[in-house]
Symmetry: C2
Subunit: 309 residues, 2 copies
């Protein structure tokens, strides 16, 4: 195995801001990335919660370039690069490697369902061969509730055997702890991220690397604190606090709820926009969410100042 | 409503040939299109069975240009243009209209699941507004088993009300006759295609326009015959024949089985290639399929001559 640095800790699938014309807004995105980095949170840009599959490859390339040019460190970035079409995945992945991203989070092709393990193996293998860059580090993205195309243990095993220096980890967004636990046991040395902070403590106790979680967009410091203090006596209490906040968010569609929260705490209402097919919260949902957050004394320290800068 | 011509009859989601480098092969595709047209079959290029979601937008634009330049009539083409990302759908749809395609078959954005009717309405509305061309004719593509994002009757109603000259029809690939029947009753004047010839006779009796079916790639003349003779005494027997042939194909993964059949009857083995995540039939499957077809006296008249031309 190569000695290149693996990701660990807490990463956020960074929400993507849109302008009035529904184009992605690179400068707002860079600001949010800087805030996340200031909270010890890595940048899984172009994830599910980034509405990345509602962006074209061109838009993602432009955003990535803009972030790097704005000084956001690519060594802290794990962009999502997996698309339905092989050439799209190859193009974005190659670009991410070229720009210095330390890893990519890669969905399987997700249009066709009930595809074979062999077909998925070949999909990843073709991407790796076509990108053809020793710096490439792939974190597989297992999110069966949305992609509907699972990454099985047998597939992981084949990929690690064929590409041990390239296929280095996974994000498990199955929502099924027994699946994450099974991965941790079967693949020691593989870098396993929980897909939500709900599983963070268990994942770390099982030898996992951390979590890549939607709510890290708004609550990164507290999630990072559990990551840093998981062996301390207060770990269970920290986990319980995280679960409580996540419980508040989960009463609403997650991506609109995250954007409403960022909009409110940054004082920048433009954050509320989503690209179809997603839609913003209703006024009633918005009021309820913000009241619940405020009632908990929730804050996003330093965010508003950054937004004004 | 405008008086522009609607599609009717039998259309094939044309299988896409690939070269050894897995790039789409425009000249083979043009030959297959010409054969299908010679069998009275329209061209739903870039459908599910075309592996269209394994192609980039650029590849689809290049293929469409190559087909038109090769003399394939765009008035007989209904390319699939719906993608996950709004700009991709807009770009390909606008290009199809510009090239003279008489309609487009449009998937909803299919990555995010459990999206709202409002979100899907806005998705289609944004495409229509951004393409901004009075010639645009959209046939909605309802294929919940694969896309996992259904097009509900309420959504159809809203789209027809808002864009009566643009949203003119649907392909129903639900595999659920009661759904097709419900559409035919609720939306008279809407152009409804069955997603398989299994439902062709019932669809025509219910006032539908025809079918867009995978097996039209290999059996177009027989399917067209039922379309032409549905009111004749032999209609039930023709439908039974179609069902029998489809039954043979359905024992295998459909897209590889279609490609094996085209490869065999054209004498051109290159047709066997698929793009990952799809894979070719095994040798045993291939032998079984070809034996079953041969046992039925199956033929694709004129195809081999075209392939040699």
């Amino acid at each position: 195995m190569s000695e290149s640095k693996r990701f660990s800790g807490v990463l956020s699938p960074v929400v993507t801001p849109f302008g009035a014309d529904l184009r992605p807004d690179a400068s707002r995105l860079a600001r949010h990335c800087r805030w996340l980095l200031s909270q010890n949170c890595g940048l899984a840009v172009f994830g599910t919660n980034s509405e990345a599959n509602s962006l074209s490859v061109e838009e993602k390339i432009e955003l990535l370039d803009a972030l790097v040019e704005a000084g956001v460190d690519p060594a802290r970035m794990m962009p999502g690069t997996g698309a339905c079409a092989l050439p799209d995945t190859v193009r974005l992945t190659a670009h991410a490697v070229k720009r210095g991203c330390a890893g990519t989070l890669m969905l399987p092709p997700f249009y066709y369902k009930d595809v074979s393990e062999e077909g998925l193996f070949r999909s990843y293998a073709e991407v790796i061969e076509r990108v053809g860059d020793a710096r490439l580090r792939i974190y597989l993205y297992h999110i069966p509730p949305i992609a509907q195309v699972p990454i099985t243990f047998d597939l992981i095993e084949r990929l690690i055997a064929a590409y041990p220096d390239t296929v280095v980890g996974i994000k498990d967004s199955s929502g099924d702890w027994s699946n994450t636990e099974g991965m941790l046991k079967r693949f020691p040395g593989f870098t396993v991220f929980a897909g939500s902070e709900s599983f963070l403590l268990r994942t770390l106790r099982g030898g996992g690397a951390g979590c890549i979680s939607a709510t890290a967009n708004i609550n990164p410091a507290a999630i990072h604190r559990l990551y840093a203090e998981w062996q301390s006596p207060q770990a269970e209490a920290l986990q319980a606090d995280l679960d409580e906040l996540r419980g508040v968010l989960q009463k609403y569609p997650m991506i609109p709820a995250l954007k409403e929260t960022v909009a409110h705490y940054s004082g920048d209402a433009d954050w509320r926009r989503l690209r179809p097919p997603l839609v913003a919260l209703s006024e009633a949902q918005r009021r309820d969410l913000l009241a619940a957050l405020s009632g908990r004394g929730f804050a996003m320290p330093g965010l508003a100042a950054l937004e004004e800068a």
